[in-house]
Symmetry: C2
């Protein structure tokens, strides 16, 4: 475990480590929590051909202990969760067994949700294989599935026993998936860490070239921010800091729902959401046009969309944002910026300025 | 709220009251937690015609805020949970809304499970209308659904905001349902309170005559035992005291699974399970034959079965007990008696004596 960076998510009895390193998911040493346990693995049809065998070898498991989902966000459903649960029961995983989620955010969210409700909750370990999952979805215990009415509308908070982020897995990741993950990295800079944002402006080319140290650096810095915020606000209570992690997500979820989860990757939708959040903030005079321009420029340099899908109308946003979980007592709350690295959750925004932002973006 | 008995389940930030009284579910005073909240009610087709309108009047709700399940344990399924969740989303219940479960254990477990996973967990209030639910399933936060492979195999721990037990609802309860609940009452005496057991021996006729004070007495005494045990062991950790509440349940669940949840009521299966647990304990010399005889006699006087269903074989028990959640690392653990009111969870029993107990019971 040399060259393994270790962070800890501090949650009392539910605290757990995040281990980050090159090649660590192919060795037993990164999985002390799995020793001597009855184990099952959930992965998907994209990840299995590339990353499954090394993991099985490391943990002395066979293919019969693996459930392979068809890959894709469209499979993150109630019905898929039911299939995984049927399989776990058929395979006689006991209540003190442990589930390993090997894959991106869809696998992690779905397998984590199954772990949360299998026999009223069993242990699970996240082995995220995408940048998006490594910097965001695998950490913090949010699990769940999508619904025709919106993303992640059914789920549970269920913290993993450990998160194992192997930077090697990013080498085989499709470029578009990597860029999608970068959107969340940029989000962390915008919401909580202007120095990280600057670092990204200066080192974006190293990341796009998949330089291992640069990748490990952003995973560690993003996880450190997420771990700190999750430690303060495990269950995203009313006005707690955890909500700030959803910068860009209210807009982004609307885009994903509008496009049926099939055309835009999560990070692509969030990238556009970040631009909209920044633009709306600037219209209130809370940040300068220069900050907006820096955000939009970095997102564009990262090859990510800065505008909503063609044909999506302001009315589509308004309808789809109505059911968003950030609706409190009928009043929409948004995460906006008071500065670079300084996000707030507020219902104190001007509906007219929101309308203008959406009109201009959809023009 | 005169004549309302109030107990508290002590669980730190998740503590909540149990309110017990005659007619209290038809008045607003028993529901301070519901004031000013967006509310939805889940009930079933047996309960709705009798108890729904008074509750709706008390809480100023209309029928459009109610989901009515088809009554019956066979509907406590993953698919039913999906239907309830679809409806909750269609009805635009927000994340800070509150769900009310009006009915027996099936409604409480299913609605509680939906509350646990709707938008990653919302508040809910239990309004149990059966004796079984009032003394057992509504208290303690166990929620879930059944699976073809066994009872409650999918679920979550999710504590209610309050439990409202109206003794009036027992007057309209079918006799067989009442007796099924009595099995759990007898269970509490056997596992934790020999004085309660004696009280039941002396007052069974008052209960069977539905004398209100006698009913309130057993609800309060059983809930006090359950609240104490749940307070010590919220999530039923390995060898914790909460497992003791499952006295008779390993046998009982096997009976329910064998009969497809349709022929035997839960309490009827538990009643036979209690007899089997007592008989197995006596074969080990841990309790006397006199204690077994008292248990079997009280259960029989309550009109409950003391033997497995005709045709069920010892092999059926062994198969079905294999997947039970009390299996730890492949070793079956059972809750047995060291005395009347003194249960233990142990894997230290003699397999031969278990075989003899099952053979005799199934003869």
């Amino acid at each position: 475990m040399n060259n393994t960076r270790i962070l800890k998510v501090e949650l009392g009895a539910r605290s757990y480590p995040i281990r980050i390193g090159k090649g660590i998911a192919a060795g037993e040493a990164a999985f002390p929590e799995a020793q001597g346990r009855q184990l099952r693995v959930v992965t998907d049809s994209n990840v299995a051909p590339i990353h499954l065998d090394p993991l099985l070898a490391a943990l002395h498991l066979g293919r019969e202990q693996v459930f392979v989902l068809q890959a894709g966000e469209t499979r993150k459903t109630w019905d898929s969760a039911g299939e995984v649960l049927d399989w776990l029961l058929a395979s006689k995983l006991s209540r003190d067994g442990c589930l390993i989620a090997l894959g991106g955010g869809v696998v992690g969210d779905l397998a984590g949700f199954c772990a949360a409700i299998y026999q009223r909750g069993i242990d699970f370990i996240q082995v995220p294989t995408t940048l998006l999952a490594q910097v965001d979805s695998s950490v913090g215990g949010k699990t769940g599935v999508n619904h025709a009415r919106g993303k992640n509308l059914i789920g549970a908070f269920h913290q993993p026993l450990a998160v194992i982020a192997d930077t090697n897995s990013l080498a085989t990741l499709p470029k578009r998936e990597l860029l999608s993950g970068l959107a969340e990295v940029i989000k962390y800079g915008m919401l909580a860490d202007s120095l990280l944002f600057e670092w990204l402006e200066n080192n974006l080319d190293r990341i796009l070239a998949l330089e291992p140290n640069a990748l490990a650096e952003i995973i560690e810095r993003c996880c450190a921010i997420k771990a700190r915020i999750v430690g303060l606000d495990e269950r995203e209570t009313g006005g707690g800091p955890r909500a700030l992690l959803n910068l860009g997500h209210t807009f982004g979820h609307a885009i994903e729902t509008h496009t049926g989860y099939t055309q835009w990757l999560h990070g692509e939708a969030i990238a556009t959401g970040l631009c909209l959040a920044a633009e709306l903030s600037a219209r209130h005079g809370w940040i300068t046009d220069t900050v907006v321009a820096r955000c939009v420029a970095l997102i564009a340099r990262a090859g990510l969309p800065t505008r909503p899908p063609a044909g999506m109308l302001p009315a589509d946003f308004r309808n789809l944002m109505g059911l968003d979980k950030k609706v409190q007592n009928g009043k929409l709350r948004l995460i906006l910026l008071r500065g670079l690295g300084d996000a707030i959750l507020t219902s104190d925004f001007d509906a007219e300025l929101l309308a203008e932002t959406l009109s201009q973006a959809c023009a």
